[in-house]
């Protein structure tokens, strides 16, 4: 399993989001390294298909596939389970994505 964390430094929640990702991975017994990618330019955002910070991908798949595919240096809005908007993905959102990929892997 490959876990990537992409962020834009001007969005203040990236450290908290990364901490949350590590927490959930530990809770799920996943001991993989997280590939942390700092996105610094609009060109790089396009190249990485980066829709906002923070973005978490598991085996290349976004934990919350975006409906908008504008690649831009911006902060990302997550719609939480209770319909609130947050700059952070919830732990459940991360957990669901990790479990879904783990389940779909052979063996």
């Amino acid at each position: 399993m490959r876990v990537s964390f992409l962020y834009y430094e001007e969005c203040p929640s990236h450290d908290l989001a990364l901490e949350r990702l590590h927490e959930v991975m530990a809770e799920e017994g996943i001991s993989r390294e997280v590939e942390v990618i700092k996105v610094e330019t609009e060109d790089r955002a396009r190249e990485l298909r980066f829709v906002g910070s923070p973005t978490i991908r598991v085996d290349g798949q976004d934990i919350e596939p975006p409906s908008d595919s504008r690649y831009v240096l911006t902060c990302r809005a997550y719609r939480l389970e209770d319909d609130r908007i947050s700059p952070l993905p919830s732990k459940d959102m991360i957990r669901r994505a990790l479990r879904s990929v783990a389940k779909s892997r052979p063996g």
Binding site: E10, C11, P12, S13, L16, V72, T74, C75, R76, A77, Y78, R84, I85, S86, P87, L88
Partner: protein, 177 residues
């Protein structure tokens, strides 16, 4: 760093609102407290705090408190922050305060605003009494421990000194042209 510090006077403005009227700072001279809030549509921090700002306006309107939201983001780079989209957002959310468009970004620059949301709270004399963020938890309203903005409002309305006059605004950077 904001250009205004606690003790400074409000910078006048006159800007178009989503209600198709022009709003000037002087229109609100009779208010006990006036909060100029730099915000925008697209920023998740601004959106996370939106409902709390609506609640604060509703709770304190009867005590002479007025919020004025201003968006100054470059709509060319961030189309969600265009004036038509601001109108849509205001309608969707039922904003109970004016939502103004600072297209030239002059007012945001004059205030030295850097983030969305970022609050400049003035008293009846137009003196800045509090500058900064709404509270200490954008992610979870139920987990807020320090209600900086509300505490500042209550101190102004109660004629008391503020215990906290400045906090660091937390949010997206304003998108300059």
């Amino acid at each position: 760093m904001a250009n205004l510090s606690p003790g400074d006077k409000a910078v006048p403005f006159e800007l178009p609102g989503v209600d198709d009227r022009r709003h000037a700072l002087s229109d609100y001279a009779d208010k006990e407290a006036l909060a100029v809030v730099f915000t925008c549509n697209h920023c998740p921090y601004a959106r996370a705090w939106e409902d709390r700002l609506i609640d604060i306006q509703a709770d304190y309107a009867g005590r002479g408190v007025q919020l004025i939201a201003i968006s100054a983001n470059d709509a060319k780079k961030y189309p969600d922050d265009s004036f038509p989209r601001m109108k849509e957002r205001s309608e969707e959310k039922g904003f109970n305060f004016p939502y103004l468009y600072d297209e030239s970004q002059e007012i945001a620059r004059a205030y030295g605003a850097e983030r969305t949301p970022e609050i400049f709270l003035f008293d009846r004399d137009g003196t800045l009494r509090y500058h900064g963020t709404v509270d200490d938890n954008y992610d979870d309203p139920a987990a807020v421990r320090s209600h900086y903005f509300i505490d500042a409002l209550q101190a102004i309305l109660g004629g008391r000194e503020l215990t906290t006059t400045e906090t660091t605004p937390v949010g997206c950077t304003i998108k300059w042209q």
